[in-house]
Point group: C2
């Protein structure tokens, strides 16, 4: 399975493509950042990003696009542009018949590090280790996009239906807890993203 | 000049097309609502609205698309979808080389009624009178889209460059005040929209 992760942002939008391998392993296919020039008008910035995201989709033909779920409570100054870029990624995927999955920042941290409250650097180090990279992916937006893709590959699909909970790894349990917390609205207490 | 007004929303997105006529008059060309089914996933909802907005653009070939400026402070529950639909409208316009203008709710009220704090019904009545309609445009989203288009036609382009301020009408002065208020950040005190 191939996943394109998108960490949405108007100035820097992280994009990362990961293939699943047998035995809970994953392989980096491509990673980068799609940006737009703050001096341009908002419509031209969004058009540029939409066009670039379409190039990524057409080049790598993912099975799923995993997009960070954006919350209105976070970063009032940039949240509108972030939400709009997330929307463009979803429409570009839907136009091509590619399913879209949304994952919260807490889910990503939990899936990659085992803790929904892990720091940014911890996520980056784990992503480099998981994908066997010699260096940390830079900038942070690119690493976050890879983390989103890995989160989707490793999502505990059975966890929320109950049942085999005892068989989950620590990371999967933390992921499931983060997802349930998000669904019940208590995600508002999760650490917010302050970098963009 | 032909303006397509877009009152963005995920469940109901108002669209209205207005032509300017000589002597500060305007003519209704078309008005309607583009909707999406709440039961669908967000990516398919956004794709549906994007496709419908493109049909409106291609059918009416406007000179400008006027979109309501969405603020992160308002209606946390629906603001993300509203922002995403606004983004789709902007990208659809930009793809066709059509300029985009953003107007705040206060600017619209001021342009149409002469008061930045006018009520919703007052805006609807004035829009019906301006366009010579026998009935109020329904639903409110459709009326708001027409009001956005008229606001753009009647924008006091010279007002903010200073100079001929004394020649402005009461509505133009209120519009200019609302715009300056928005630019200086004091728009947060303006009445918020609670209907969606």
């Amino acid at each position: 399975m191939r996943v394109l992760g998108v960490d949405p942002g108007l100035t820097r939008c992280g994009v990362g493509v990961v293939d699943s391998l047998p035995g809970r392993r994953a392989r980096l296919v491509d990673v980068g950042v799609v940006g737009s020039e703050p001096a341009l008008s908002i419509d031209l910035r969004l058009l540029h990003i939409a066009t670039e995201l379409e190039v990524w989709l057409d080049r790598h033909v993912p099975d799923v696009v995993a997009v960070e779920r954006v919350f209105a409570q976070h970063n009032v100054g940039t949240v509108m542009g972030t939400a709009q870029v997330a929307g463009l990624a979803m429409v570009a995927a839907a136009r091509r018949g590619v399913p879209v999955a949304l994952h919260t920042p807490s889910e990503v941290k939990a899936a990659v590090t085992g803790s929904g409250r892990a720091g940014k650097e911890q996520v980056q180090r784990m992503i480099a280790r998981i994908l066997g990279l010699a260096e940390l992916p830079r900038p942070a937006d690119a690493a976050d996009a890879l983390a989103l893709a890995v989160t989707h590959l490793w999502r505990p699909t059975g966890a929320l239906q109950g049942g085999e909970r005892h068989e989950l790894t620590a990371a999967q349990r933390a992921w499931a807890a983060a997802e349930q917390s998000a669904r019940s609205g208590t995600h508002r207490g999760a650490p917010s993203r302050a970098r963009r």
